[in-house]
Symmetry: C2
Subunit: 357 residues, 2 copies
DNA sequence: TTGTAAGCGTTATCAC
DNA sequence: GTGATAACGCTTACAA
């Protein structure tokens, strides 16, 4: 009898295909076919093999199988964090589509750490993933070099960037936040604050900030340095930042753009504490459409990305690449959810029905 | 030249250990030793092998390696959802501890679906995980049977249940919510409402509800059926439920226990809409200490579990099992964060300094 | 439709 | 210290 694997209790080892084969009175090859090409095996034999496998609790051995097939049937995805729920729909959808094609998703969480991402990718390549999805492209270049040298198809998600060296799938973060700024400018706002999570290792946040800056600049506007806050992803940072932005009564913005809804929630709390009315004293925007956003007082104007669709498209993109096709990058659009936290600037309201120059 | 693997571009195939060996003028065995038992290979040879491996971009082939070692160096963890951030610290800590021991975490997300959990576990067993961590024990029994028949060490987390058939690691959900109810009873509350996520496929929620019921019952109290709400995990459900609970002005509870902070947030929104004061008109409790809880108006009284510690302990538990040890189940305690949303019941307050019977 | 046998890429055992 | 060589468990031509 074979010796047991390390760390397992004594007793009989896990059954192998050959054990099933012998018990069913067939060859190993027939056992394999029963599971992989059932059409090629006579029904009564198939039933017999299936019954034996069930009885002895046999499952194919992944490593042996991967070795023989030269396929792992695994796809990897790296996401930056589990701390918010925003990747839930993306991952779930990806998982579902891949499962429909007999593939398994390997999930890696980098915690916004490029080194962790590199370790995750290396570990996945060693495990033999056939394709990879990466959130964003802010990784060290040798991470991509390693993927490319292995000729593993991959795609960068949550961003659309036709000038990138990598295929991308997602929203155009620059254009989307450019649109947010224009939306507020359209209400007559001329002074802005912005509160965002860290730009380091996150080209999406960087693009969002640039988009806002560009839109303001096109209208001869800018954000005062004291009104530009960058710090931890957290409602607490949103709250503290808003207090700081409104500390100087002489220089108060009439609109504050937040990088996400969680930060905006904190800002709303601070506004209440400071006795500021939204949107009376200033307009506030979020991003992501957190489940709480529509329930806030006032309901938060935010933007929503169809992340389930993104997950589906990502899986399909990779499956097509594996099938030898050359799918194109795709641009998704964020949908505005215009709610109560945004409105006309005070200066505009005071003009009554007159138009703004 | 070997043919390429399916789905990859034409060109040379991935390098193997033998390619590195030949280029470095050593045997395959030495290449293997260089990576797995570096002490056993002469430094200058080691350097040479490492240099060649680096140059040709060789990484050991996981399947081949797993097959030869009869070890996958992988540990699986199944979590129920990615929708809230509550598993972030748990997963991150687990991942870190396992990595320190050269093991990789495979993450599966069941979305609270027992079938998905079963598929995830089967897929992980096929991939050869050496150990498994499962959140909760509300799975079909054949899921555990399959794990056990493979003799794969496992642990059930986020619950402590010494009477369970499985080793558990986490808080005692019954006792914890029993404590929450007693905490409120101590304030003089006699009428209660409760808003919880679905109990189906979630023995933790079931235990929490039972804990509250038991504490009330011990004090001759009960929750009116109309004040017991069970539904989707979401702030919106919390809001709707609170409105329903307070619809009948003649029968209003003085305390509402929520299954988590998200639901409590919704309840707070509803209270504001209904013109109810917290804790003046009723006390409200959450669970999990969401980052937003301390910022709410009033700050939400909630309970916090050290999930990073739980993740660490889970990884250590499994590593010890793999090392042939027999670690014990462990009970964690939830820590109360007593904030502004709880206080004395109106009846008690009106008694002034008198004590409650 | 089924069986035989040659891999798949690595590690571990045993000589040297 | 190093090198042959035999596994590891499965799949897949190819033959029957």
């Amino acid at each position: 009898m074979r010796p047991d694997a390390k760390g397992k209790r004594s007793g009989e080892a896990a059954p192998r295909a050959i054990d099933v084969a012998r018990a069913a009175g067939v060859s190993e090859a027939t056992v394999s076919r029963t599971f992989n090409e059932p059409g090629k095996v006579r029904p009564e034999v198939r039933e017999r093999v299936l019954a034996v496998a069930e009885r002895v609790g046999w499952l194919p051995h992944g490593a042996g199988s991967a070795l023989a097939r030269r396929r792992s049937l695994m796809v990897g995805a790296i996401i930056p964090t589990l701390a918010s729920g925003i990747f839930a729909n993306y991952v779930t959808a990806m998982q579902r589509v891949l499962a429909e094609h007999g593939m398994t998703l390997l999930l890696g969480v980098s915690n916004h750490d490029p080194d962790q991402a590199k370790r995750d990718v290396a570990s996945m390549l060693i495990r033999g993933v056939e394709a990879l999805a990466l959130v964003g492209e802010a990784y060290e270049s040798d991470l991509f070099a390693q993927i490319q040298s292995r000729k593993v198809p991959y795609v960068v998600t949550h961003t659309y960037n036709p000038t990138s060296a990598h295929p991308t799938l997602g929203i155009d973060n620059f254009a989307t936040f450019h649109g947010i700024a224009r939306y507020l400018i359209g209400f007559g706002h001329r002074t802005f604050g912005m509160i965002v999570p860290p730009r380091s290792n996150n080209e999406r946040v960087t693009a969002r900030v640039s988009g806002v800056m560009a839109a303001l600049s096109e209208n001869g506007l800018r954000i005062r340095p004291a009104h530009m806050k960058e710090g931890p992803w957290s409602p607490a940072f949103g709250r503290d930042s808003l207090h700081e932005i409104f500390a100087d009564r002489a220089q108060r913005p009439s609109a504050v753009i937040c990088g996400n809804d969680q930060i905006a929630f904190g800002a709303m709390m601070a506004a209440r504490e400071a006795g500021l009315e939204i949107p009376g004293d200033f307009s506030l925007t979020g991003f992501d459409d957190d489940p709480l956003s529509s329930l806030m007082q006032p309901p938060l104007t935010t933007w929503r990305v169809d992340n389930a669709r993104l997950g589906r498209l990502t899986a399909e993109f990779l499956l097509e690449r594996l099938a030898g096709m050359a799918p194109s990058p795709l641009r998704l659009e964020a949908e505005i959810l215009e709610r109560g936290s945004t409105g006309a600037a005070a200066a505009v309201r005071s003009l009554g029905s007159e138009n703004l120059t």
